[in-house]
Symmetry: C2
Subunit: 444 residues, 2 copies
């Protein structure tokens, strides 16, 4: 396949900027990426461009609104990226884009600079070909997605008219596998929190106090172990409130997405799958709520040995939420559980880090059906409509506040190492992505 | 109280050497401390001095064997010290000895350079006063105590004749409190190990795999929580093999050591004591075996958040052993338990780090009774004979291999911050210690 060299050279410029939003030392780089994007949108013919300051990193806004009587599409994406660490595992440096084997390697190549840039170039191409666009277009691109979008929801709430659209178009998801496009129609909500458990004001000598005082690690493992039953079902009272049993139609839809159990097991080095009884792997990871401990630490855990009774231990927990689950109610339920199961002599402090409501989209919506047709035209294959287990908190906000269908037209692949070393994008999907988006915009 | 300034100046020289045995970058400092000690023993009149190389740090040996027909005392101590970290919590630098309030502050001040130096000066004083010593004396001083003495036991085994003695004298323990001396007559054994639990070959995205695959942290907390029952009693089958129920005499002895529950609770910030039912705090921490998790870590536990299903988690565990418990058997019992309780999909690797057998000494032994008399003469108070909960592995080796009574004549105080910032020794006990040791040696 022949790619547009000029487009790739420009994308490389974008990828060279280490716009890591979660690292304060990269604040200027994040700003630089915002300004670069503004320039690139200007070149594409987008008007009314602004780099809007927030309490964190800026939002880039621009529009082209001269297609009278035609629908308006709001394009969302993010120009910030994950940290590159562990850097030693990158075959070529994270911020030196390199093509190998028709794939472009760089941090942000697929998440989300590469996917976002598809829209910039699709608009530019349409503008160059016709001197105008077939629809009205608005761009709202943030620089804080990788830190859970703290400032975008209030911006959306406060600018409903400015952002109003007939569809919100997002390319920040993946195909099922190479050659099989997908439009995600369901995202789980999320709740992330941390907890710190304390039993004494200092670590104690295990020879002097061991066996006679509470041990913060014993207390923490006891408390964390109480969060699930033996089958992996969450034991927190009230956790499943608002969760419907899946209909047989939904179960069929979920089962229709291809999934190779044995291959996955082998690739990930798993001895066994494991989870809530009565549900398949795909149901457990796609449409059921979960509670996972993502990290914990306490006492002395470095090389060597220290015979202490640890006085503190902490853990990070996140939940994926579905259906009618309310993040705030789930948080309360967990707090009640922790309080009820708190071991003798332990005090527990908690902090809520992230909340996002689950969202479900109707695949029969015409804006989504037209996206499906565009995929089929370019790839020769109709897209599937998977229920994704992940969370993109902003999708629910767009959907709820703007009351618009959200079209998640992803061009990534699950194998492209997002958030990991050697992130890349298949150039085939970059080039076909531009085709698909232009085709979609024309079809509206 | 007037102290010997010359002695303290010399001790300061000793304390200035950062002989941290566990840190390879201090290897030369450890050697320097060994050579310094050799010079100091030579000055005291000790003969046949050697700095004996081992696979790790050297052993300093010397003797004076001209007291024909008199008993022989082997003096043990260690010239290595713990690391100074966290250094920012020291009021004055760890290796710049400073006197405040009649206390000498420095790393090693009480553990064990200061206590060891009491013997060097006691011998020197006796030699200066009488031109000879009242008993035969051997010094065997190691540089690896703070790393669990890996090379001393084989040295003792291989040099039984050279080290043969009527008593082994050690000053590396503490008073009950200021003014109340103690001769420790029981030390618990120890077993330390680490375990690493794995569920997959890489951390996984919790939105994609959460709820459907084993989580290494869930597995680890489940496994660790199975090690104790609700009362804090160890649940490992076979763990208590060889442990006798305490006799009423032993319980009385233990109860006779003063202990202020409320004060301890307040000082340590404890909400409650906690441990095996049917035993007092002092029994739990002194004469009962224990199993403590000393540290654990897994997944992402730094600042911020990462929504992963962790694939690995590890923990460090140590046991205190008593009576007929064999460290190797206890290790096997724990391995069996881990294997039996291993959660679905988890693989567990373990590594044994330290073993030490418990030791119990007869307080009626004349060598111990004479030490008690020496304390009473100098301090005006008879010492108590506590059962210490800690472990000094080498005591059991001396006792078993040399078949000699071990006299643990400590001059530290429990409040002297050993292994912690602002370690110090009360100069009163340094000066009275020299008096007590000279008095003891004369009395033999």
């Amino acid at each position: 396949m022949k790619h547009n060299e000029q487009y790739i050279n420009e994308l490389n410029e974008f990828l060279e900027i280490p716009s890591i939003s979660s690292m304060p030392e990269h604040k200027e780089d994040v700003k630089k990426a915002a300004e670069w994007l503004k320039g690139s949108l200007q070149k594409a013919g987008i008007e009314n461009l602004e780099v809007i300051e927030t309490e964190g990193h800026p939002i880039v806004y621009g529009d082209w609104l001269h297609a009278e009587g035609k629908p308006t599409v709001l394009i969302y994406g993010h120009y910030d990226v994950q940290p590159a660490s562990p850097e030693e595992l990158w075959e070529t440096p994270a911020f030196e884009p390199t093509i190998r084997d028709d794939k472009l390697y760089a941090r942000g190549a697929t998440d989300d600079k590469g996917q976002l840039f598809i829209h910039v170039k699709a608009v530019e191409k349409l503008m160059q070909e016709n001197g105008e666009l077939p629809v009205n277009v608005k761009f709202c691109i943030e620089g804080e997605e990788e830190m859970a979008s703290p400032n975008l929801p209030p911006f959306i709430e406060g600018n409903q008219e400015k952002l109003a659209a007939d569809a919100v178009l997002i390319s920040d998801t993946s195909f099922i596998e190479k050659g099989q496009p997908a439009i995600c129609t369901s995202l789980r909500g999320a709740l992330a929190m941390e907890l710190n458990l304390k039993t004494a004001n200092t670590d104690l000598h295990s020879g002097v106090y061991g066996g006679g005082v509470p041990n913060a690690i014993h207390s923490l493992v006891n408390l964390l172990d109480s969060l699930h039953d033996e089958s992996g079902k969450v034991s927190v009272e009230g956790f499943y409130k608002g969760v419907q049993d899946p209909t047989s139609q939904l179960r069929e839809e979920v089962a229709s997405i291809p999934f190779d159990e044995e291959k996955t097991k082998e690739e990930l080095g798993l001895e066994a799958f494991y989870g809530e009884e009565g549900f398949t792997f795909q149901e457990r990871t796609g449409i059921r709520p979960t509670l996972e401990v993502n990290g914990l630490a306490g006492g002395f855990h470095e090389e060597g040995f220290k015979t202490i009774v640890p006085s503190e231990a902490h853990a990070k927990i996140s939940c994926r939420l579905v259906g009618g689950q309310e993040p705030e109610e789930v948080f309360e339920a967990i707090l009640n559980h922790l309080d009820k199961h708190k071991p003798v002599g332990a005090s527990v402090e908690t902090k809520k880090l992230i909340t996002a409501k689950p969202v479900s989209l109707d695949s029969n919506n015409p804006m989504i059906q037209k996206a499906a047709a565009a995929y089929e035209k370019v790839y020769g294959v109709a897209p599937l409509f998977p229920k994704e287990g992940g969370s993109i908190p902003i999708v629910e906000v767009f959907s709820r506040v703007l009351r618009s269908p959200v079209v998640m037209m992803g061009f990534g692949l699950p194998s492209e190492n997002l958030h990991a070393p050697n992130e890349h994008i298949h150039l085939e999907n970059f080039t076909n992505g531009i085709e698909t988006v232009t085709s979609y915009l024309k079809s509206l």
